[in-house]
Subunit: 210 residues, 4 copies
DNA sequence: CATGAATGAGTCTTCATTCAT
DNA sequence: GATGAATGAAGACTCATTCAT
């Protein structure tokens, strides 16, 4: 029953090129910026005619949407793996989980600086709609982090009076700062050190204990 | 007979228009984005000929540089007032100072959402040079915050083993998150709540105390 | 089945349009002058979009370079035909050759007054670089004429003490004058008369013989 | 009776500035070309406001007309001095006179290369009207030279069958060539050599005498 | 009378998009 | 289905000219 698959070889090739276009567009946008990138640049780098581009995407705006959707999916997938909020039941386990998440983030963003450059610095400037999408993303991330914190509060390993929403945004802000810092100092050691500092602040705060 | 001032009326008017152009450019850039804004738009909104624009600024890139320089100056000035790092000698005083700085930030960014929108979301996407300038700004802010922390460590009201640099970036990240959040929820109460949550994380962390 | 040619029909059409653009640009430049001619004028006269122009030439400066290169090539080709310097071995033959060259010049420049108007009056005023190119052209022409004279001196039908270089420039100056005169009086008879006068001066000078 | 003069001091100053503007405009036009020169350039070099320019000349086109009129007057004046066509009555005297005229030309154009650059290379390209003026100038020069030749024919020291008009254009062409050559090789010796070569061609032609 | 601030017509040039081949 | 030639809207920028001070 090999013919059972409704996806023909031609169809698969089409999907392949579609993917290549998205990736190449990301390359270009990250390197030269969205506005400085022409459709012709993307097509030329791929070695296809720039008319072909329009057989796969509506217009320039369309492609950038897909690029971002893809990137977000990638990031979320990498983070979600083995990191469900309710897989944790003690502070020690949560510490381990946050460390793992931190490593994952470092892996994702440290492995390809274009990712941070594009998502954090370039995307929001594309147009008003994309700006809202970026803010939506931040909101979604806050909700996700809040879920982790809620779980901790419920199980008692996080402070009972924790402002879950606010703390979630605060924590995500620290992550954001770390990713931004990686753009200037991508050395893994620096990233690890910053990650540790963030976790220290996160768990213990900065105040001296009496 | 106030002719004592060496600045002629014409000169003053020129400076005034120059300032108006910068402000109007900021309006336009913040509303429609840098790339979507034409010099003609700025001039039209001001009611001047677009040729006039070029009497005051070299080109489109020139104006955005001035806009940003001005904004940064404004923000820095608002924060620097009465908030010297070494004006503090105890944790209680530092708490007060951070609250004051938080209020100042809320005042600045809450008072005009365009500020955050432009500086945090738009600016970095203008071009590569501006992106670097934004990263420079983050670096400078980190150094500034680090100075505050260093002072606290020296005086003993902050943890002796604090990773000053890393914590500074972490704290600034939380501030960044708060400013970004204000774009979606500009209500002063929300801002105050988020500010409090950040300070709570900052001083005490999120972990439950045994 | 003339598919043997490796040049596709599309390619040929492209070359054709390229040529048409050069010719139309020449038309415009000669009629209204380089500076008074807009790219839009050229495109409109050709019935193409002005964006199309830029698919064939880099910019306005680029096209004028090609126009001139083409014109010079045309002129040189017309003169070079059957007029090698060393194809002559006596004064009588040289007289015949100069007459033939004169006729050729009259044919070229008399046939299309725009040629002289553009090359002699317009080109040098385009910009500094083009001015040098025009002077280069005069230098080259002087060298060419000098080659003819040298040959005559060697074979003894021209004065042994002839200042070859200087005389060459002098002769070319007379030609230049004739071409310029044709702009005001393009009648073939006038041209023929002037051509004869030049040859008379050239061979015999103006002084009465004792 | 010093008040008898109708020209007030203010009036004289005005005339002076007017002259300075013409000269400075010539400087600019000759150096950077007519089209590349802005009214502001001329005014700035003179240290006057560019609005002032328009108190002395109608517009940009107006000034270039005056510049050329002035230059032509200068050239003509320099040549006319002691060189009346009928001040000569023999070939020897005519030779002397042409040598003197040659020297004068060398003095004028050799002394200031901008003169040739502007009059011969730049002027005709300004616009159609100026092109006609340049051709008018060539025509006038031809008539002038023809007057000299006519005189020589009448007195018998030039060939009786001389084509006066044609020869005049031919001779002027040689002069033109010499002036153009001076732009590339301004050395007085070169000029003198070329001048001699021209006179040799003019009087004796290039053909070997049996 | 000198000034230079203001103006906007005019030009080059780019690039996303369409469509005939 | 791929291609790239054609297109023209759009935008940055210049500069001759005017005119209020």
């Amino acid at each position: 029953m090999t013919t059972g698959t409704p996806v023909s070889r031609a169809e698969r090739k089409k999907q392949e090129l579609r993917r290549e276009i998205i990736e190449t567009a990301f390359d270009c946008f990250a390197e030269r910026g969205y506005h400085a990138t022409g459709i012709a640049d993307i097509a030329a780098r791929l070695g296809i005619g720039h008319g072909t581009f329009y057989r796969y995407f509506q217009n320039k705006r369309d492609i950038v949407d897909h690029v971002i959707t893809d990137l977000v999916r990638t990031v979320v997938a990498a983070l979600a793996a083995d990191n469900a909020p309710d897989a944790v039941s003690s502070l020690a386990e949560y510490r381990t989980q946050t460390a793992r998440i931190g490593d994952a983030l470092a892996g994702i963003f440290g492995g390809d600086p274009r990712l941070a450059r594009f998502l954090l610095l370039e995307a929001a400037g594309i147009d008003a709609e994309m700006r809202e999408r970026v803010l939506d993303f931040y909101d979604g991330a806050a909700q996700l982090t809040a879920a982790y914190l809620s779980h901790g509060v419920e199980l008692g390993y996080l402070r009972a009076d924790l402002d879950v929403e606010g703390s979630a945004r605060a924590i995500n802000g620290m992550i954001l700062a770390a990713v931004l810092a990686s753009l200037r100092d991508p050395a893994p050691e620096s990233q690890a050190r910053l990650s540790a500092a963030i976790r220290r602040v996160m768990y213990d705060g900065i105040a001296a204990r009496d």
